[in-house]
């Protein structure tokens, strides 16, 4: 390792760009990374062409940090291509790990998404009703666009993945833990997630009562939270207990309920169901009417409980229209 620099590739698929920025968030440590590794591909920061990647020998790259979910043919192509070229594939960030926020598009399909985006959203002006077409003949020849899928996939749903670095985005500490492990060759066995095996609650400093109950669900803007007490017990839909820790419980520390961006707990099949079952189990309501009234206050349960994980949960997606 010492004589030859590590070869890195960083790629983004269906993502917001936050993960790339997060890499810069490690501040001056980026220089250590640059010293230890050649960054051969990083579309957000450097110019490159597909044929550059195609030209690499198989396995030429040591590690690929792949962020973003996979929802079109171009992303799928690049995922497969990079898989061939890279020895170690890392799903980087919540979207690559679990589908992330783009994964909530699994509540719909291509047709309904296009109808909304190119049809009737408040900011749409599209009198001709033009929608993206994968192929278009123009006098100069044929133009192509990637094919948009009905489903959003996590990275490991389309290619084999060695490691997972969760987070929306991963915290600088998590990134440095992962990079240090790569650079020093002390990677855990394949399949591992570079984060804690305990939940966010484990790291959260808030006080929990012996028999927690929820009297009423609240959204963060509705009440001022007590700064000491567990947010869940105050009725916030804090996902801490159903979410993998490793973030250092940053959100609850600043009065913001955990959103669950580090994904499901190890062994969990459906983090959304886990959280929903827990919260409703401790709801202090003894009759059906109160239960109905209180649970009706859980607005957007899917978006809340599956915010980052819909594609990898048992639920997976909403039934397709056809």
């Amino acid at each position: 390792m010492a004589d030859k620099k590590l070869q890195f590739a960083i790629y983004w698929a269906a993502s917001c760009g936050g993960c790339d920025v997060a890499i810069l968030d490690v501040n001056e440590k980026i220089l250590d990374i640059a010293a230890a590794a050649d960054i051969r591909l990083w579309p957000v920061a450097m110019d490159f062409k597909y044929k550059d990647v195609e030209g690499w020998a198989d396995g030429e790259i040591d590690v690929c940090l792949f962020n973003g979910a996979v929802r079109n043919s171009e992303q799928l192509h690049l995922a497969r291509l990079l898989r061939r070229k890279c020895k170690v594939m890392v799903a980087f960030g919540a979207c690559a790990c679990f589908g992330g926020i783009p994964g909530l598009a699994n509540l719909h399909d291509r047709k309904s998404i296009f109808e909304a985006v190119y049809g009737y959203t408040a900011s749409t002006v599209n009198p001709e009703g033009t929608t993206p077409q994968p192929h278009l003949k123009v006098p100069e020849g044929e133009l192509t666009l990637p094919v948009f899928f009905d489903d959003v996939y996590s990275l490991s749903q389309v290619i084999p993945v060695e490691y997972y670095v969760p987070g929306c985005p991963p915290t600088p500490d998590t990134i440095m833990t992962a990079v240090t492990a790569i650079v020093t060759g002390s990677l855990p066995p394949p399949g591992a997630t570079v984060a804690s095996d305990k939940s966010v609650c484990h790291d959260c400093k808030r006080k929990k009562s012996d028999k927690p109950t929820i009297k009423r669900f609240h959204r963060p803007f509705e009440i001022v939270p007590d700064p000491e007490q567990c947010l869940l017990e105050q009725g916030f839909t804090c996902m801490g207990s159903a979410s993998r820790g490793g973030c250092g419980a940053l959100c609850p520390a600043v009065n913001m309920p955990c959103r669950g961006c580090y994904g499901p707990m190890p062994g969990s099949l459906d983090p959304g169901a886990d959280a929903l079952a827990a919260m409703t189990s401790i709801l202090a309501a003894s009759d059906d009417a109160t239960v109905a009234a209180e649970t009706a206050r859980l607005l957007d349960p899917l978006g809340t409980f599956y915010r980052f994980t819909l594609p990898v949960s048992v639920l997976g997606r909403a039934p397709k229209a056809s």
Partner: protein
């Protein structure tokens, strides 16, 4: 190593094979991965059937067994035992229910066979992932709790105590005896109720193995079969029973009267009282609610006359803790509030009375000294007895109360014997099913009683002619004559329905029992285990399980006692191994699970900051498994992987 699954498909005579093509099910199973052996047989639960399983385990080196037959509630234990006898861990057995879930509920043979194949495929999918579990034994506390001191509870307690088992009996009234103590004569033999009951009451109270708590109720139960911890609240009685000589002078001297519950409100008792003259225990207690001293702050007349100085005005409730191995619930029954049945005039017409009131009228220690009198003190010349008041009626109680026909006949006999009255019985069907009961009915047919087959519709005091003036008129359709009768009488006796105790739901919750649709406590099996409940170690005795006459209540009590005795004399019980388990590494101590276990099996390890589960208390219900947000609790024998494999197998067909 790959699992080796053996599949055994049962015909259950024609119960299954009549609808499901069992040979085809076995044939399908042979084609599935890991299934190394599959066969079908007439009765898998028979000795030869079990022997087949054992032989196959040895011959084909089977390490997972699937029996496709009836409900696991019937035979899971049978086959687990057979597996264990062949050296296989009993938890490597899985039962596929193709009888209750399939053949019994379907007619289409083709479709039922396909469904049975699906069910068995699911069981095999789970079986592949089964893991051996170790069963554990716990010691059984050689003591039993009997709740309720009616005749059923008394019989149960006596049987247990005579077998050398310590018994704690808790009765909420001042005396044991229950409803039977209120009865005068008992059908069909007409022997005096008190004469046969009081010796048993005395026997149980004096038994060296019995601790009797009256004026007491069970407040809390925790623990599990063999080791229940019971909290009993003994109400303050303000009389020290160790000092009181039961001379009864206070009963005479107390100036304060209040209605007597034992006499069904037909007369009064004093504020210091015993339930009835032969009450056991015989020491009086003070009723705080009506006692002048407690109401007004002065009186204490009783104390002045009490020679041994037994009164303790500062007495308080006492809480007693007992640890018992078995619990027998014998809390008896209540009666339908007849005033809620307006059409029969109870509460409006003084001479419309209930059966239990009639028992008291008829009793020598009752309000009339045993004379059957109307409220005006005269003897009735004509009496109507209405059967099925509130029973066998969809508007009230759908079930038959099982004792009313017989006691109505008893009343008719007693009326004919003691008075010159004409007696009318209005009945729907005459239900005289017990030993000597039909004979008793036949005897009554010759005693000049008028039997009308037809339910009385209403009782009115509005005369339609001179003859009816000033009398009660019973209207009924005599179905055998096909005409509507109006019968003027002087007294009406309502055979009101036997109902569950009003606090049955709360009592059920306290002892971990459930209620049947009729509101009585639910037995484990309606035919084969009417004296057990779904909670191990909790048994039922007497009319709390459903209406019963005395012989049935006594037999039921004895049966419950013998089942409890079997548990106690075995000395130890195996507790369920399919329990929930906390994966300590995954638990982050969020405490969400702490209060949700219905068996209070979950605790918390403070220093380690993780939840703990007491495997002896855990019933494996899975509530915490579903609740745990961190997937840190595994329901053993029903793991996520096993359940998902079953679901996938269902859709793989």
């Amino acid at each position: 190593m790959e699992p080796r699954v053996g599949v055994f498909v049962c015909h259950c005579g024609t119960n299954i094979a009549g609808v499901v093509d069992v040979a085809r099910v076995a044939e399908a199973a042979r084609t599935w991965a890991n299934v190394v052996h599959a066969e079908d047989y007439k009765f898998m639960c028979s000795d030869p059937g079990q022997a087949m399983v054992k032989q196959a385990i040895l011959r084909h080196k089977i390490d997972r067994v699937v029996v496709a037959a009836c409900s696991p509630r019937m035979h899971e234990a049978t086959f687990r035992k057979a597996c264990a006898e062949a050296g296989l861990n009993p938890y490597l057995f899985e039962m596929a229910n193709i009888r209750e879930h399939c053949s019994w509920v379907h007619e289409d043979k083709q479709a039922a066979t396909l469904k049975a194949i699906d069910i068995v495929r699911m069981a095999v999918a789970k079986a592949r992932l089964l893991e051996p579990l170790e069963t554990r034994s716990v010691k059984v506390e050689p003591k039993a709790l009997v709740v309720g001191g009616g005749v059923a509870g008394i019989q149960a307690a006596l049987n247990l105590a005579n077998a050398g088992i310590k018994v704690v009996m808790v009765e909420r009234q001042q005396s044991i005896g229950g409803r039977m103590a209120q009865l005068d004569k008992t059908f069909p033999t007409l022997d005096c109720s008190a004469c046969i009951l009081t010796p048993k009451m005395v026997q149980v109270a004096q038994h060296p193995n019995v601790t009797l708590y009256t004026c007491a109720e069970v407040e809390e139960v925790s623990g599990y079969v063999g080791n229940f911890d019971v909290t009993i609240r003994r109400k303050a009685t303000y009389v020290d029973p160790d000092v009181c000589t039961a001379c009864g002078i206070c009963l005479e001297k107390c100036p304060k009267k209040t209605t007597s519950e034992f006499e069904e409100g037909l007369t009064t008792r004093k504020a210091v009282y015993r339930l009835f003259p032969q009450a056991v225990p015989g020491k009086p207690v003070v009723d705080r609610e009506s006692c002048t001293y407690f109401v007004n702050g002065k009186c204490k007349v009783c104390e002045r006359f009490c020679e041994p100085k037994a009164f303790r005005w500062d007495d308080t409730d006492k809480v007693v803790h007992e640890r018992v191995g078995a619990i027998l619930v014998a809390t008896g029954y209540d009666l339908y509030d007849a005033s809620a049945l307006g059409q029969w005039g109870y509460g409006r017409f003084p001479d419309v009375i209930t059966g239990i009131e009639f028992e008291r009228l008829n009793n020598a220690t009752g309000p009339t000294g045993g004379r059957i009198l109307k409220k005006d003190g005269t003897e009735p010349k004509s009496v109507a007895i209405l059967h099925c008041v509130g029973s066998r009626d969809r508007n009230y109680k759908e079930y038959c109360s099982r004792v009313c026909c017989m006691y109505s006949l008893k009343f008719a006999h007693l009326l004919r014997e003691k008075t010159a009255a004409t007696v009318w019985n209005f009945y729907i069907d005459m239900r005289c099913f017990g030993k000597g009961y039909e004979e008793f009915y036949n005897r009554l047919l010759h005693e000049g009683v008028k039997f009308v087959r037809g339910k009385a519709a209403y009782v009115t005091d509005q005369p339609a002619n001179d003859d009816e003036k000033g009398r009660l008129v019973v209207s009924a359709e005599a179905t055998t004559l096909g005409e509507v009768l109006r019968v003027p009488v002087d007294m009406v006796i309502l055979a009101s329905a036997v109902t569950p105790q009003p606090d049955a739901p709360a009592v059920a919750r306290r002892f971990g029992m459930s209620l049947s649709p009729d509101g009585f406590f639910m037995e484990k099996h309606p035919k084969l285990e009417p004296f057990s409940t779904a909670t191990d170690g909790v048994y039922l005795a007497g009319a709390c399980q459903g209406p019963k006459d005395i012989p049935d209540a006594v037999a039921h009590g004895a049966a419950a006692a013998s089942t409890a005795m079997a548990l106690i004399s075995r000395g130890e019980v195996e507790v369920e191994a399919a329990t929930a388990q906390v994966t300590e590494g995954a638990c982050s101590g969020c405490k969400v699970c702490q209060d949700i276990c219905p068996y209070a099996a979950i605790g918390f390890d403070g220093p380690k900051k993780v939840a703990t589960i007491n495997p002896s208390l855990c019933k494996g219900c899975g509530t915490c498994v579903a609740t745990c947000p961190s997937s840190a609790i595994v329901g053993r024998h029903f793991t996520d992987q096993q359940v998902l494999a079953q679901i996938s197998a269902l859709f793989a067909g």
